[in-house]
């Protein structure tokens, strides 16, 4: 997979315009600056640490840390912009929870120690990389200064040499910039370990949510069966038993009981139907996500324009998650939006299914937990999607329009080749 790098990025092999060349040169200068300011902070932190025993050092250490974080943020932004790939912030927590707690957290955060490593090395790296173009340009200038004006042949040779040196500088610039960016990335972006830790805690939370949601769902099904179909069937059996007894002596009563049993049977069927629909709507099995969303839109009191293009049917769990999310969003739309029209757009893009449900209603919808009902509401949709690494976003300025955007990574929806 190739990464998309913006045109403004500077890297090996990229052709430099005047502006980018200027930026690259300025960047190398900036690195010298951050390198030496970093040394100052390093010194300050050292003094703070040594005098911490006396107590006065702690505020110095804290200030030094704040400075270091500000400096590394600047460096990250620079490297991110020039390489076209942003550097994420690696810290476990910020420094905004009181001096002692912040210092403690920072000391335990591996990113702090990597920062310090960067502070120590950055002056050397920046110097080494910055000196290369400087040396080349200075030698070009000295040729100009000493060799020029001593006759046409030497002038010619000097000119060629100067051009060669300037061209070499220009050609080297992207490489130097890339080296500087790579160095920053090495120490200042989250280590793979930090990323893994974060990922694991994310997965842990979403798994817990998924397990929770599942057990809530099972309990709901059990309760629905118990209070619904099961109770109706008990009543039905009772009525039939009574009818059996009454049929000889009092056929009129028996007939009444039989027709009551029929009503119970029909009600039990209706209950079961509702339950099945909540577990896995048959139309989803029949027609897949596109058909099921179309069917749900048909029940909405607001006319919905459909625009669904997906290359193949996604995995059943993904289908089901997106379907229920769409159904919930449609219910919200019908209940709260006051809209005169709505739209649904479903696409497969960059390895993810992207579903947008919008309306021209009054807006102001928010991602708030839906009271006590754990399974409902937009927040419920969000949790459901999170179990699949999905994402939910609600764009709903007051006055509308509202768009609920859901994204679900999904490999199996790629076109079969």
């Amino acid at each position: 997979m190739t990464e998309q790098v913006p045109a403004s990025a500077v890297g090996p092999g990229s052709r430099l315009g005047l502006r980018q060349g200027g930026r690259a040169l300025a960047g190398l200068g900036l690195n010298l600056f951050t390198g030496f300011v970093g040394l100052f902070f390093l010194l300050m932190a050292g003094i703070g640490l040594v005098t911490a025993i006396a107590g006065v050092g702690l505020p110095i250490l804290y200030e030094a840390l704040l400075g270091i974080r500000r400096l590394t943020r600047l460096q990250r932004r620079w490297a991110g912009q020039l390489s076209g790939r942003p550097l994420a912030s690696p810290y476990v927590g910020g420094l905004d929870r009181g001096m002692f707690a912040s210092l403690r957290a920072a000391a335990l955060d591996p990113a702090t120690w990597r920062d310090i490593g960067w502070l120590a090395l950055q002056p050397l790296v920046a110097l080494a990389l910055g000196l290369v173009p400087l040396a080349l340009l200075i030698s070009a200038y000295s040729i100009f200064d000493s060799a020029m004006g001593n006759g046409p042949a030497q002038d010619m040779l000097g000119l060629v040499l100067i051009s060669a040196l300037v061209a070499a500088t220009w050609w080297l610039l992207p490489w130097l910039t890339a080296a500087q960016c790579a160095f920053s990335r090495w120490l200042l972006s989250p280590s793979s370990r930090t990323e893994l830790t974060e990922r694991v805690s994310q997965l842990f939370a979403s798994r817990a949510d998924a397990v929770d949601a599942q057990s809530v769902e099972l309990r709901r099904i059990e309760r629905d069966l118990h209070d619904g179909a099961q109770a109706r069937l008990v009543a039905l059996a009772m009525d039939l038993g009574l009818a059996e007894k009454a049929i000889d002596e009092n056929p009129a009563i028996a007939k009444q009981l039989v027709s009551a049993s029929r009503a119970s049977a029909q009600q039990a069927l209706a209950d079961l139907r509702g339950l099945v629909r909540g577990i896995h709507p048959p139309v989803l099995a029949d027609r897949g996500l596109a058909g099921a969303i179309e069917a749900a839109a048909l029940l909405c009191p607001v006319p919905i324009r459909l625009d669904i293009i997906i290359p193949a049917r996604p995995e059943p769990p993904v289908e089901s998650a997106l379907y229920f999310a769409a159904a919930e969003a449609l219910t919200n739309l019908a209940k709260h939006s006051d809209a005169t029209r709505g739209w649904i757009r479903l696409r497969y893009l960059d390895g993810a299914l992207r579903l947008v449900i919008g309306d021209d209603g009054r807006g102001g919808a928010a991602l708030q937990p839906a009271g006590t009902d754990d399974s409902g509401g937009l927040a419920g949709i969000g949790r459901r999607l999170a179990a699949f690494d999905g994402r939910l976003e609600v764009v709903s300025p007051v006055g509308g329009p509202t768009e609920v955007i859901m994204e679900l990574p999904c490999a199996s929806s790629s076109p079969k080749t």
């Binding site: 029929r262 049977a265 029909q266 069927l269 209706a270 139907r273 099945v276 629909r277 048959p282 139309v283 099995a285 029949d286 027609r287 058909g291 179309e294 069917a295 048909l298 029940l299 909405c300 009191p301 607001v302 006319p303």
Partner: protein
């Protein structure tokens, strides 16, 4: 009247055969899969087919697909679809050829034998039999302040029964009023909804269904 039955659960298939035979239908074939249904419809050209929406081998909406395909081959071939649940999407697809002679009922309705037999006869005669649930879902999409909201409760009842495909006489019997009163109600309904009247019962039903299925206004 010759009828083909398609139902994969033998319990229900035998029940349907018994029920229809007892009511003077001639069950010419009873099949249990989609492909066999397609074959039976081609071979027997029945007066009406009673088809379960879910059939092997796919156990999805196979019955519906086969029925719609058969109606493309034999336009107007009367088909009554039975299902455990109703789906507007399927009702729309069944009605989309505007040819009449279609039904779409919950399986629960079989329990009321007289009503069910009446529905099969109606479909065979080129009429329609839409489940009450289909109609009430359609109606619930329409907002109270729109044309549907201007109907009186009684007119609404008449509209629902008419949309299910029942004749004026049947509606009158259901509501314990005269056929003439029903005719008057229907006139009012068509006036309020802005629909053109028609002498033909089936065409009237189709017009009402089309109105209900259109985007809510």
């Amino acid at each position: 009247m010759r009828v083909v039955i398609a139902e994969d659960l033998s319990l229900l298939r035998d029940g349907l055969i018994r029920l229809l035979t007892a009511n003077d239908f001639d069950v010419v074939d009873a099949v249990d899969t989609g492909p066999r249904l397609a074959e039976a419809l081609r071979q027997h050209r029945p007066d009406v087919a009673v088809v379960d929406v879910r059939l092997p081998p796919t156990l999805t909406d196979e019955g519906l697909r086969v029925a719609i395909a058969a109606r493309r081959e034999q336009p107007g071939l009367p088909v009554l679809i039975l299902s455990q649940y109703v789906e507007q999407l399927y009702a729309r697809e069944l009605l989309s050829d505007n040819a009449g002679g279609v039904g779409y009922l919950l399986k629960d309705r079989i329990a009321d034998v007289d009503q069910f037999v009446d529905a099969v006869r109606r479909v065979a005669a080129g009429g329609t039999a839409m489940d009450a649930e289909v109609i009430s879902q359609l109606l619930s999409r329409h907002r109270a302040d729109r044309p549907i909201g201007q109907l009186t409760p009684r007119e609404r009842e008449v509209l629902e029964l008419m949309a299910e495909g029942r004749s004026n006489a049947a509606i009158a019997g259901r509501l314990f009023v005269t056929e003439k009163a029903i005719g008057k109600h229907i006139n009012n309904i068509f006036g309020k909804l802005g629909l053109a009247q028609s002498e033909d019962d089936n065409r009237r039903v189709m017009a009402v269904l089309a109105f209900l299925q259109a985007d809510p206004r």
